[in-house]
Symmetry: D2
């Protein structure tokens, strides 16, 4: 288990169409913000979806969780903190915090788990070589 | 130009998450209702996406239009009327009406235009054989 | 803790626009299917959002979880099983199963937790009277 | 009719979940990009939704149009150009271009029309004072 902590911050673009009739961002849209976070993390640390794809894999989400602490109103700015959580298995784990920009208050926290599958949708149980190299480069 | 009119009716499932902070269905979501209408039409008249795909084609939308007459509130039921509009070109045209179920009042009208492209994303300028046969079967 | 089990089944309308570039339904859209399930449950057992609203409350989601077992491809039919899980607190808990219609295989399981807030967005710590009466009617 | 041209450019955040099973951005999501464009325009020229709201109005979309020229693939960057088109009526008209960032090629063009309604959803037929003042400030 590695000690280095890889963290990314991304300013979310909250769309009017993402609010609901309660006047706040619809809860399901937070999964888009997590995705924004993952993609921004990927750009920051060289772990982009397209690069994973070119290496022969998809990394679908197999588990996701979100705890909502405070609502996000339209017009408020927010950002997502994405933290990579290392593990031995052939998995990619992220933790997320959605925070209000004006005062850094946490609005939601979440986590996701991804696995590696081939382009033929076959599950891979040992970490692919390119991923081990990525870990070596960024975590050691 | 053919005289037969092919029309389908589909009861929309309006989701809470599709409303916005104005308390009504967000305007962009009507394009999902049009898609519901196209798919229901496809099931009714044997023109499903997957069948088109199996015949070697995609039929992407190249133009779409929507005029909004009255808002659709959460909790109201609505349906979409989808009407096929025949033309000589290698195109699929549909007209749509979104109507409130309780009183049949028109909430929105729209239209879409689709073309045929191969799986390699190449545009087809003459109607594919399977589509001509479909027309023969349903319009003549 | 009550013994009666309230369960609802709802056939999901999977939209083409809900798939992603992996050719399967985008994981975030399962939260819409859970919402479909909750709303269908509400219609089946008299616990509709609008009725809750008329009683003076919103019931926002404060926690959600989804485990993805198998992908859902465009063109496949699926349904959601929604199960109410009773608890003492002023909360509404649901469990969900997304199943493929053709063979009833489980594609995803999930759960959600909702709380009661007033229209002024104030959290309520004891179950509102109308909710206690609903429980009495349906669970005892 | 005014001669000044107000234009805004906004870099779109294309999400993976916004692609569809054809491997390109689902056509309906372009309306989100138009909304991104309108909101960015609003920030650039002092015409934000919340300011309009504080002045007593909503400005719902009553008509929208989009012509799709080329697909937008996941991983490609794009931006939206939003152009205000002045008119005498109590309406807000915008034209949009979605362009690929790498070569500025136009992927889609569109337009939208908005009207003014009160918070009670009553249509306003003459331009509200605050809007006339906005026009005076920015267009003359």
């Amino acid at each position: 288990m590695n000690e280095k902590i890889l963290t990314d911050r991304y300013d979310i673009n909250v769309r009017f169409g993402e609010t609901d009739a309660m006047g706040v961002v619809w809860h399901g849209n937070y999964l888009k913000f997590f995705e924004d976070g993952r993609e921004s993390f990927g750009r920051s640390y060289g772990l982009k979806y397209l690069w994973i794809f070119e290496n022969g894999f998809y990394t679908p989400i197999v588990s996701i969780k979100c705890d909502y602490k405070k609502p996000l109103y339209y017009g408020e700015d927010a950002y997502v903190i994405t933290r990579y959580r290392d593990c031995e298995a052939a998995k990619i784990q992220f933790e997320y915090e959605i925070r209000r920009s004006s005062d850094d208050v946490i609005l939601a926290i979440g986590e996701s788990l991804q696995v590696f599958i081939t382009h033929e949708h076959e599950l891979i149980l040992t970490s692919p070589q390119f991923f081990l190299e990525w870990k070596k480069k960024y975590l050691e």
